[in-house]
Every structure is written in structure tokens, then in C-alpha cells.
């Protein structure tokens, strides 16, 4: 130990000597005697030289400066991650050292604050989705979909899950990766002109444990969600909705049209884009599923004096108790991001959340009208609109970016025959003038 390490280390030469003496060894080296010679690394790690804080900051700032972020261009990128406004209140949550540097609240008396906040988060998720129980968060919008399938898998003898093709492609990919381990087969139902056909879904669901669809769907269209849920139920499959929290001030809650579970990615509600993470995935369900839910759940109880208290509950579901019989292997989750979501949603309140949804609806409608391109699908939009481009959409993106506008996501990335479809996202941060600018640029570059 030469002491060249950064100031995160706290031992002085003198400390080290006193401590080695107390241990009864003469060198730190001796402490590692238990590590067999054959597996020791006998050279220094081949890593770049240490950087002090100032140099490190300068280096990383240079890397950050080489990225075109949503503030650096007028961006209409969405497709699963959205540039909604993150209120400054969120900074209070993300910057409080106690939230930042605590861990899973195994010792409730030490963590009442985090526990209560999670309890509040669970309530907000239940309210928005129309469910009875929510866990404390999953990794993201993709893994919670797989978790939901695992729940269904234990609820039914059936061994297939049906995914609407209009469901986020990344979500479908993750479910497909997990499914074999669960002993599940995946069946996909194509979209018809941008939305899912309830009858087709019902047919596919006949043998299925669960059906997953997304509202609004990945193509930017509003699905006939209640009909899809009913189709699934009538086929004996659990309807699972993949939803966007920022739409649920305006759209009906999945729990109110018969869904068994609701999942989604919380990023749009209170998390920065952060190039894809960390964000929080949410998972909520009707009461009957509570003992099959994956992950942490906080419950309210009392302390020895009868004072209200919060605690991790129903832990017999979890890996540290149930081990191979657990409902999931998750332990570290996304609590901090979920609390950011709680702060953002509490800041909006019911009125604000409705206003956000209505702003998106209004801007999407305005874009449909102003943008000089054909909408790719007839179904109404919520906050995204897919347009057909006369030249390859990739090329449209390239040319528009050269003019300081990122016009959106190329659906051809995921869907056959959609190389000429551009998915434009509108959040409440965009203005009518921004849409005008988009229309102007698209007119120029699509010539």
C-alpha cells in the first residue's frame, strides 16, 4: 500500500502499522496468504494512470461534450424514452446523501424514510394503473414485462405468452430471452395498420397464459385496449398492459378495463434520459397476485409503541428467504429512480398529469396537421406520430440533423418494410413553434 490511491481511502501509514500489529501480521501481503500462488496476479493491473479529481472531471467532461444531447438539437426522438420535463424537485431526492448512500432497508428502524417513500410510490403506481399492489420497482420496462410473464406462468397451466407486435420491440426481445428459462413459448400477433385486432388476439390467446399489449403502442397508435383486455380474458389468458405513466392522467387505467397486471418503464415520469438508464420499471397487479409478485414490497405496520411504521413485507416471496423457490432473483432494484418518479408525479398532481397528457395529445394532433408527410397509420396518436417519408427515413434523419433538428426514430430499425417510416415524439417540452420548425425542415429535406 503505497498510498497513491485517491482521497477516498482513509488509512495513514501509522494506522496501517497499528492495525497490522493488532492483526498480528507484519505486512498486508500476509493477509492474502490464503490466496493460492497459482491464482495470484503478479503484475500491476494494466489500467491507465490515476487521475486526480480535477483532471478526471476535465477528461469526462470532454467525453460528455462529444454527444449531441436533446438540449443540443431540437429533438423529436422518443420510441420508448421521452424528453419530458424533470422538475427540480427531483434534485432534492437525487441529491440527498441519505437516499443516495443507503441500501435496501433490511433494518426498518434505520430506513423509515426510504420505506415510507416506497410505500408512497407503490400507492401512486396503484392509483395510476388501477391496481391493488405494486412492487418497489423492477429494472426497467423490459424486465418487468418478463417478470409479469413469470407471474402468469405460475398462475396457469398454459405454456405460451402472446405478445402484440405493436409492443415495444426491446420488450419483446427481453421476454423472448427469458421465456425459455421459464418454460414459456412466445407467440406474436401482427399489427393491422398500426393497431392490434382483438379477434386475432383472442385466437392466439386460446392456449396462452398471458397476453401483453402496449397502450399507446410502439407505433404511436392508441390501441382498442379495453377490447384487447376483454379478448384475452375471454380466451382465459391474463391481460397484461404495458403503459406509460405520463398518459394515465388522461387514459383509462388498465386495472379499470380488466387487466390483471400493468407494467412499464417509468423513465418518462421523473427520470433523465441518461442514454438508456438507470430508470425504473414498474409492476402492479390485482390483489390476488400479491403473493406471486417479484421484488420488494413495503407494508405499513406499527412499532413496539404502536407508532406507525413501515417495513419490507411478504419476504417469503424473495430469494433471500425462498432461494430456488423465490418468485424472482431480484434484490438490488431501482429504488432511487422510483423515488424520483414519485417526486415528479407528486409535483404534477392529478391536474398537472392531465395537463401533460393533453399537451402531448394537442401537439401530436398539430404535428399530424402541420407536417407535410402522410401519417403511416390511421389510428389516433397520443404523443407519437408515424409518418411515411418519400426517401429513406434514415436519410431524412441525416439531413434534418445537419439542420439542427432530430426528426425522430426510424421504425425500419425494428419493423420489416418500415424503412420509410419516421416516428415523431411530442412531449410537453415541445411547442407549436417547434413543430412548425420540424415541418419546415422536413419539407426541405424530403424534397
Amino acid at each position: 500500500m503505497s498510498g497513491v490511491g485517491p482521497g477516498y481511502l482513509s488509512l495513514t501509514e501509522r494506522d496501517r502499522e497499528e492495525m497490522l500489529a493488532a492483526v498480528g501480521v507484519s505486512s498486508v501481503e500476509e493477509l492474502f496468504a490464503q490466496v493460492p500462488e497459482g491464482v495470484r496476479l503478479r503484475r500491476p493491473l494494466d489500467l491507465p494512470p490515476p487521475l486526480g479529481e480535477a483532471e478526471l472531471a476535465r477528461h469526462v467532461e470532454e467525453l460528455a461534450a462529444r454527444n449531441a444531447h436533446v438540449g443540443a438539437e431540437l429533438s423529436f426522438l422518443g420510441a420508448g424514452m421521452y424528453d419530458h420535463y424533470v422538475p427540480a424537485l427531483v434534485d432534492v431526492v437525487l441529491s440527498r446523501g441519505e437516499f443516495l448512500t443507503s441500501y435496501t432497508p433490511y433494518q426498518p428502524e434505520m430506513s423509515q424514510g426510504v420505506l415510507q417513500a416506497i410505500f408512497e410510490y407503490q400507492t401512486v403506481i396503484c392509483e395510476l394503473t388501477g391496481m391493488d399492489v405494486s412492487n418497489a420497482s423492477g429494472y426497467d420496462g423490459t424486465t418487468v414485462a418478463a417478470d409479469a410473464c413469470y407471474v402468469a406462468r405460475h398462475f396457469s397451466e398454459r405454456r405460451t405468452v402472446v405478445l402484440a407486435e405493436a409492443l415495444n420491440p426491446q420488450v419483446r426481445q427481453v421476454v423472448k430471452t427469458y421465456a425459455p428459462g421459464f418454460g414459456l413459448e412466445v407467440v406474436e400477433v401482427p399489427h393491422r395498420g398500426g393497431t392490434t385486432d382483438p379477434d386475432e388476439l383472442a385466437a392466439a390467446a386460446a392456449e396462452a397464459a398471458a397476453v401483453l399489449f402496449q397502450q399507446p403502442n410502439f407505433l404511436g397508435c392508441l390501441e382498442p385496449a379495453p377490447d384487447l383486455a376483454q379478448a384475452a380474458r375471454e380466451a382465459g389468458a391474463l391481460p397484461i398492459a404495458h403503459v406509460d405513466l405520463t398518459t394515465l392522467g388522461v387514459l383509462e387505467a388498465p386495472g379499470n378495463y380488466g387487466c390483471a397486471l400493468a407494467v412499464g418503464d417509468g423513465q418518462a415520469a421523473g427520470n433523465w434520459l441518461s442514454y438508456g438508464g438507470p430508470h425504473y420499471g414498474f409492476l402492479a397487479a390485482k390483489g390476488e397476485f400479491i403473493r406471486r409478485l417479484p421484488g420488494r414490497i413495503v407494508g405499513e405496520t406499527v412499532d413496539a409503541d404502536g407508532r406507525r411504521a413501515y417495513v419490507l413485507t411478504l419476504q417469503t416471496r424473495e430469494q433471500h428467504i425462498r432461494r430456488e423457490k423465490a418468485t424472482s432473483n431480484i434484490t438490488t432494484n431501482q429504488t432511487l429512480l422510483a423515488l424520483a418518479g414519485l417526486a415528479a408525479l407528486a409535483w404534477l398532481g392529478p391536474e398537472g398529469l392531465r395537463e401533460v397528457g393533453e399537451a402531448c395529445l394537442a401537439l401530436a394532433a398539430y404535428a399530424r396537421e402541420r407536417v407535410p408527410l402522410e401519417p403511416a397509420f390511421p389510428a389516433p396518436s397520443f404523443k407519437e406520430v408515424a409518418f411515411r417519408t418519400p426517401i429513406p427515413a434514415r436519410e431524412v434523419v441525416r439531413r434534418a440533423r445537419a439542420r439542427g433538428v432530430h426528426p425522430g426514430y426510424v421504425l425500419g430499425r425494428d419493423y420489416e418494410g418500415m424503412d420509410d417510416v419516421l416516428l415523431v415524439a411530442l412531449t410537453e417540452k415541445r411547442t407549436a413553434e417547434d413543430v412548425d420548425r420540424l415541418a419546415e425542415v422536413l419539407a426541405e429535406v424530403c424534397r
Binding site: V39, L45, A117, Y150, G183, L222, N256, G276, A362
Partner: protein, 496 residues
């Protein structure tokens, strides 16, 4: 709602957000474009608005401040929670992760417009590969347990590709719960290997359990007992001879960075816990990061997308025919990567000093506590160690839980208790490298006094904690009558 605390009480009550709510209050006012709002198709409009709290901004700030005050973190004090590596989280990292070029970067941004982010990820992969002693790394998994699952899926893909049928994974009886849970989720059968008297894997027991149906071993090394497996080379031989693979649960990597590399130990697949070894703040439960490093032979199966370098340019490669597919959205929790990258760059080759300090701190505590509590495995430890309150239990009816609760009164976060399962009344203690000697001495002093109190005034322990916002919490009631969300009108009053 009650905003007035009992006079003289240091911890005022903290009402729920919903109890602070008043109809018509609000904090945020989103932009309202001066445009018509279209009608929605029938049945899609929400019938009743969600009952989100209605609270003004001043009260929201106070609410979250009060909740933070009721939470103990590493910033508050000593937090030797075994197996969790609760080290100092450098504040610089929060600044860096919040740079607009990272924080506001859309994950669908074109590769050529995200070169800085891609380069950071590529460099992190390279550094993790060097630390693991394995050539290829995926950053995608969201945490250690997802790393485990990914590793097991990689095994399945690997054997399927070779046309081998293997259905069993061996784990140690000291294994963390995520190991067996991952085995099941991956569709494997579980076999448990015993621990010998020195705390190493019982090699004979192991031999008996490994055959041509064995896909692999999952092992933490050092183990959850904080002991390095002295027979690791033999263990590796047993599995490799049987054509099986070895998976390294990297949760305890903090003990051996720069000292012994999992790849050199014979492991084929390794996960990292970026939130442990590499200082992503634990955030009250998360986020984490669980990158996985593998041998060349397994590289083709890694999840998509992969971050690859081509000359001076970097890009996301989705075109990997043999890949197991995607395990998470995008390329992984990028914000976590920024912190881990900065952490490793701050040490450079001196990263070894991190592990040396972690191991010295642990052995110092062990040396000073061994006479006060039972020590099931009498060896030098690595970065953590496990004591037992067995003696206190026998002599004074004091459990590990009582010790933990009393530690709270001394302003210290309790260690992990009742894990690993092979040790009765276990107290699993991990100080980490960032603690100064004074903190360790204060902990020893507290543990000494508690041992005395156990004999002289056991009620102090039974009635602990007394210094926290609540006293001991009734977990049984919580599980018996689950209240897992606010019930509005039907909710029990804050003060009955």
C-alpha cells in the same frame, strides 16, 4: 394530519404525502400549448382522475427532506452491511453523471452523435476485462442477479451450440439467495455443495455431484463467509474436466481487485456489481449494474447490442447471430457506467490498494472482535467476516437481531444478520476500504459494550432501538395483514 410533534421529541412524525394533500393545491404547472385537445376514442378517456397527492412545492420539499432525515446512509455513519460493500460514494460522480452530454442523451441517438458515451462504455468494458482476467464484456445486465441469470443463459446457449444436454447447476450452501433463484429462473436444476471445516468448498462432496449433466458451478470467491477458497484450482479442475463451466459471482470482488483475477482462478463467466465494488450509490435499494465478462469461447453468445470499436469510431453492434438476445433495454444503465468509469480512472493500477485496505480493515475488526463473539471459521478473513452471537444466545438469550438493534442506538448501521445460513446467529461484517481507523475502533467499542450489556442489562438490547424514529417494528403484523398502499378514507390514522 398532524404537523405538530410531541414536544421534546427529536423525531417528529412524518405524515404520508397523501395526508398532506389538499384539494386544489399543486406544485407543478406544465406548459399548455395554445392548441385544441382532440377527443379520444370511446372508452379510452379516464373516468375518474387518479388520486395523486395535491401538495404545494414548499411542502413537497419538506416532505422529502423529512424522509431523508429518517434514513441512515453511508453519509450518515458506519454501515458495515456484509456482502453489500457500503463504501464511500464520491460526490464527483454525481456531477459527472449529470453532465447534459450524458444526462440528456437520448439512447436512440445515432451512434455518430454519441461517440463520447460509446467510448466511455467501450473503455469501461476494456478495464473490466482486465480486472476480471477475461477478454469480453457486456455491460447490459442491470444488477448482479441479472448478471447471474445472463451468465446461466450464456451457459445454456454455449452447450446448445455444442449440442450438449446439461441441466444442473451446482451452488455452495453458503451461496447468496440470488444464486439458486437465478438457477431456477434460468430453467436449471439445482445441486448444493457443502462447505468444509475451513470454510472452503468440500471437494469430495463436490466430485460426487459433478457429472456430464452438470452445466456449471456458481461460486462467490471470497465466499459469503469472507474466506478465499484455498482449493479453487482443484475446484476449477473438477468442473472443467467434466466439461462444465464456472460462474463467478462478483459481489465480493472488492477483496481481490488487482490481487487475483477470476479468469486466472479458472472462472469462465463473471459478473461485477458496479454498485458495490465500483461505487455506484446504492440509492436505498438501487440502481445497480451487473456487467458480465466471459472467455473467447462464450463471447459469441453475449447479449445484443455490443459496444464495439472500429478504428477511432465506436458503435452499437446488433448483428450477433449466436447472441442470447437482449436482457435489458438499450446498452445498460449508462449513468452507472459513468460513475464506475470515473471510479476506476481515479485509482488506475492502484486499484489494488482499494482491496488491500478493505481486507486490512476487515482483519483489524476481526482481530479486535474475535474474543467478544464466536468465530465459526478461525482464519484470517478477506474483505468481510462472519461472527456468531451463538454464545450470547446460549448464555443470555440475546440474539443476533438484538445485537443489531442495539447497534442502532450507538449510531451504527447493523451488519447483515442471519446470513450466510450455515452460521447460526450470524453477524456478517464488511467495513470496506473507505472507513478510517477511528470508525472501526468506535464499532469495536460498541460491540464490546453490547456484549457487556447482554450480560448485565439484557433489557437494553431487547428494547433497542431507542434512538430511532420508531422502535422495533412489527414485521409479523405487516405480513399477516398486508397494507401495501395508502387506503385513503379507510386508512388507519397517523396517531390513533
Amino acid at each position: 394530519m398532524r404537523l405538530l410533534p410531541e414536544p421534546g421529541r427529536a423525531w417528529p412524525e412524518a405524515p404520508l404525502l397523501f395526508e398532506r394533500s389538499r384539494p386544489g393545491r399543486r406544485a407543478g404547472r406544465p406548459p399548455r400549448p395554445d392548441l385544441p385537445v382532440p377527443e379520444l376514442p370511446d372508452g379510452l378517456r379516464r373516468a375518474r382522475p387518479p388520486r395523486l397527492p395535491e401538495v404545494s412545492e414548499p411542502e413537497l420539499v419538506r416532505h422529502f427532506t423529512a424522509l431523508a432525515d429518517r434514513t441512515f446512509g453511508v453519509d450518515t455513519g458506519f454501515y458495515p452491511l456484509g456482502s453489500c460493500t457500503m463504501k464511500h460514494n464520491p460526490r464527483l460522480h454525481e456531477r459527472l453523471a449529470a453532465l447534459p452530454g450524458f444526462r440528456d442523451l437520448h439512447p436512440h441517438q445515432e451512434d455518430e452523435a454519441a461517440q463520447g458515451a460509446l467510448e466511455l462504455m467501450w473503455r469501461l468494458q476494456e478495464m473490466l476485462a482486465e480486472i476480471a482476467g477475461l477478454p469480453a464484456v457486456t455491460l447490459q445486465p442491470a444488477a448482479g442477479s441479472q448478471g447471474e441469470l445472463t451468465g446461466l443463459m450464456l451457459m445454456r446457449a454455449y452447450f446448445a451450440d455444442r449440442g450438449e444436454e446439461r441441466d444442473t447447476i451446482v451452488t455452495a450452501d453458503t451461496a447468496h439467495g440470488t444464486n439458486p433463484a437465478s438457477v431456477t429462473m434460468a430453467g436449471y436444476k439445482l445441486a448444493k455443495a457443502a462447505t468444509d471445516a475451513r470454510g472452503n468448498l468440500d471437494v469430495d462432496d463436490l466430485r460426487a455431484k459433478v457429472d456430464e449433466r452438470t452445466a456449471g458451478l456458481m461460486l462467490t470467491n471470497p465466499s459469503t463467509l469472507g474466506l478465499f477458497d484455498e482449493g479453487i484450482e482443484e475446484v476449477a479442475r473438477i468442473f472443467h474436466d467434466a466439461g462444465a463451466l464456472l460462474y463467478y459471482d462478483g459481489a465480493n470482488l472488492n477483496a481481490v481487485a488487482g490481487i487475483s483475477r477470476p479468469g486466472d482462478m479458472g472462472f469462465d463467466i463473471v459478473h461485477f456489481n458496479l454498485h458495490k465494488t465500483f461505487s455506484q450509490p446504492h440509492g436505498g435499494g438501487g440502481p445497480g449494474g451487473g456487467p458480465v465478462a466471459v472467455r473467447e469461447t462464450i463471447e459469441p453468445f453475449l447479449p445484443v447490442p455490443r459496444v464495439v470499436r472500429e478504428g477511432d469510431a465506436f458503435r452499437l453492434d446488433h448483428d450477433r447471430p449466436k447472441s442470447i438476445g437482449r436482457v435489458r433495454g438499450f446498452a445498460g444503465p449508462f449513468g452507472v457506467f459513468v460513475r464506475a468509469y470515473a471510479f476506476i480512472r481515479a485509482y488506475g493500477p492502484a486499484l489494488k490498494e482499494m482491496s488491500e485496505a478493505a481486507v486490512l480493515n476487515a482483519n483489524y475488526l476481526l482481530a479486535r472482535l474475535r474474543d467478544l463473539y464466536d468465530l465459526p471459521y478461525d482464519r484470517l478473513c478477506m474483505h468481510e467476516f462472519v461472527l456468531s452471537a451463538r454464545g450470547l444466545k446460549r448464555e443470555h438469550g440475546i440474539s443476533a437481531l438484538d445485537v443489531a438493534k442495539r447497534l442502532q442506538d450507538y449510531g451504527i448501521h447493523p451488519p447483515t444478520v442471519y446470513f450466510p445460513l450455515v452460521v447460526p446467529e450470524a453477524l456478517m461484517i464488511e467495513p470496506t476500504e473507505t472507513e478510517p481507523k477511528e470508525r472501526l475502533d468506535a464499532f469495536v467499542e460498541a460491540m464490546r459494550r453490547i456484549a457487556e450489556e447482554a450480560a448485565e442489562a439484557p433489557e437494553l438490547l431487547k428494547e433497542a432501538p431507542r434512538s430511532r424514529p420508531v422502535r422495533r417494528v412489527d414485521e409479523v403484523r405487516a405480513a399477516k395483514h398486508p397494507v401495501v398502499r395508502y387506503l385513503f378514507e379507510e386508512h388507519p390514522a397517523l396517531v390513533p
